[in-house]
Symmetry: C2
Subunit: 416 residues, 2 copies
Amino acid sequence: MTQINRRKLFGLGAASVAAVGAGAIATNALMEGTQPAAAASTSDPLPFYGEHQAGIVTPAQDRLHFVSFDVITKKRDELIDMLQEWTASAARMTQGKDSGTFGAVGGAIEAPPDDTGEALGLPASGLTITIGFGPSLFDDRFGLAAKKPGALADLPKFPGEDLLPEISGGDICVQACAHDPQVAVHAVRNLARIGFGKVSVRWSQLGFGRTSSTSRAQSTARNLMGFKDGTNNLKLEDASMLKQQLWVAPGDGPAWMSGGSYMVTRKIRMNIETWDRTSLSEQQQIFGRDKGEGAPLGKKHEFDELDFAAKNPDGTPVIAIDAHVRLAHPSTHGNAHLLRRGYNYVDGSDGLGRLDAGLFFIAYQRDPRKQFVPVQMELSRKDPLNEYIKHVSSGLFACPPGLRDAGDYWGRTLFA
Amino acid sequence: MTQINRRKLFGLGAASVAAVGAGAIATNALMEGTQPAAAASTSDPLPFYGEHQAGIVTPAQDRLHFVSFDVITKKRDELIDMLQEWTASAARMTQGKDSGTFGAVGGAIEAPPDDTGEALGLPASGLTITIGFGPSLFDDRFGLAAKKPGALADLPKFPGEDLLPEISGGDICVQACAHDPQVAVHAVRNLARIGFGKVSVRWSQLGFGRTSSTSRAQSTARNLMGFKDGTNNLKLEDASMLKQQLWVAPGDGPAWMSGGSYMVTRKIRMNIETWDRTSLSEQQQIFGRDKGEGAPLGKKHEFDELDFAAKNPDGTPVIAIDAHVRLAHPSTHGNAHLLRRGYNYVDGSDGLGRLDAGLFFIAYQRDPRKQFVPVQMELSRKDPLNEYIKHVSSGLFACPPGLRDAGDYWGRTLFA
């Protein structure tokens, strides 16, 4: 019975050994609470253990497979067992290994293998797997009602949204990010395999072309409206801002979330055909930035400071009163920041002759009631972008703190 | 009015200059009928002009955006004008440029820009754009009925298929392949933009993780059943086989297709949850190969020759009578080969708790009546894999020969 080992098949050359070594060092650094190091290359593994979950401030990888599960077992112990199995599998997969140890290369094994195989031979590809618990998990099924954080209160109804319940919400979400979509898909698929009979896939979403950078070492990517997105995003280098805006602190609510963060997802369908027939001038007025460079209107470079007071010769503001950058800016919301980590998506076409495309928005924060909710309320009321977009799905999840070591598991602080 | 130029924004360093030079040389080589060279890196451009269309024997890129259009204009001239505009745009985009020349960086232009912008700053990423004409284009709308090739006869109904008409067929298809999905999506989206009012998106499909290698320089990739797929695929190095099996020759049918090839697409949904609960032994028996290495059963290495006569000690065949490799093998079909160029897909979930995933199969050939049809008829009748898969979409397209130069356009040989 030979163990299927992705690294073995891939060839454990000197470079891989060095990368594994670097991963171990980064893990130790993380345990001491410092920032996670970026992998040396897009094929290398990232640390799985640490004070916070990986996949939040980790420099955004290029591809996403996001999945939301309904828990279908009624048994608390079965759910905990599954979370322990998931954790063990995720610890292996993020390091470029197969999901489990049972299987054979060339042998005849009379049981389904512990890994589905499609990532055999592929490197770790910067895979991170991040878990979150939705408000619905805190009903009366598992005795968790008393542990529900206030920050996990249902989002209000926003003007103009048109949410489809079948692709919204869910008891547990998993965000798998990697530089290779096959590696991200493999991770989600193996967790679904392990969870068979205990959880059921409620909805899932693939994404590409990260639309936000989460590190100053990354260039700003473009959304499907063709604009740079997330220039002023929270970045992993902003240590004191992260403490203030991203990570749940002791005393913020139930102790089990300390060191965690709250995730909001919004699937934002774009009417790209209408947008594509809008003049460049109008597109730039709506965003408040120029399209080519990403510079604030009236400035030259992407990272030039926004000047909301600047006027045109005719006295009108250079950046319109309802420009997206003005409405979304922290100065409009008592300094509320978000760490955005969204992806572009194309889900084929819509049967009406149009591409079904847009932005799968993901944002992390310390308290959605003070961050996402007021920002989105302002945008949903005033943003002229609303003519070209529609929010069709919504998710809210409490992402617990990171895992200490191989004896820890996803949900330990919640179920303990 | 400054021209938006992707390469300018990306920075035309020494490496890029070298790559452009290599592309020019490869173009010339192609014009003389030799095989296209692989790009030096996954970010470089590939030649657009040549004897055959790019994107067929081109070493399979990692990502796909495939789109099928219905023609909605009734005017032949409008259709030809659009195909000429498409060709000019594709020539630019495959070289890493924006789709058109009208637009501005930082300027105020009172018209929609000639490019949608989301690929600004991204390199060419090996983009190829390949066009095909479906059987329905040869009805009485455009006076093409007499030019319909016999090889474009509708595919027969295959046992067990469950085709959805809304994601099957179409008048014109475009296959965009690149190493960056944002570049492939950008290409399809800009062709749809140019075609507004003349064509309508009928269906579109994203894919990742090429499941077939089309060059001996590529390793064999894995499908979502976890098996290596396409080990014995036609490869660009097989010059005499390509002549015999891939390219339409003078005398095969209407002259306009000489140098072209016929494309069959099949969206093959996999019941991956059922497959994942099947024993490794059974999975291997069904394929006739081992899962880890991809070796034929009874052999050690992926490229070891299949031995269909080999017997186990108990007299049963080592490779089962109905193993997939045996049923699909050219020796079963009078030496009929296919050049496969498929991609894995995940389209989210199906509302029944399962991932909506499988293989988007693409195969090129000289005559589907002698190649795809007999192979698929055998498989659809006998392959035990059918328990785990279902064909849900089908397409058949005549892909014309390559373009000679900037004065040529997609469809010239057909409409001339």
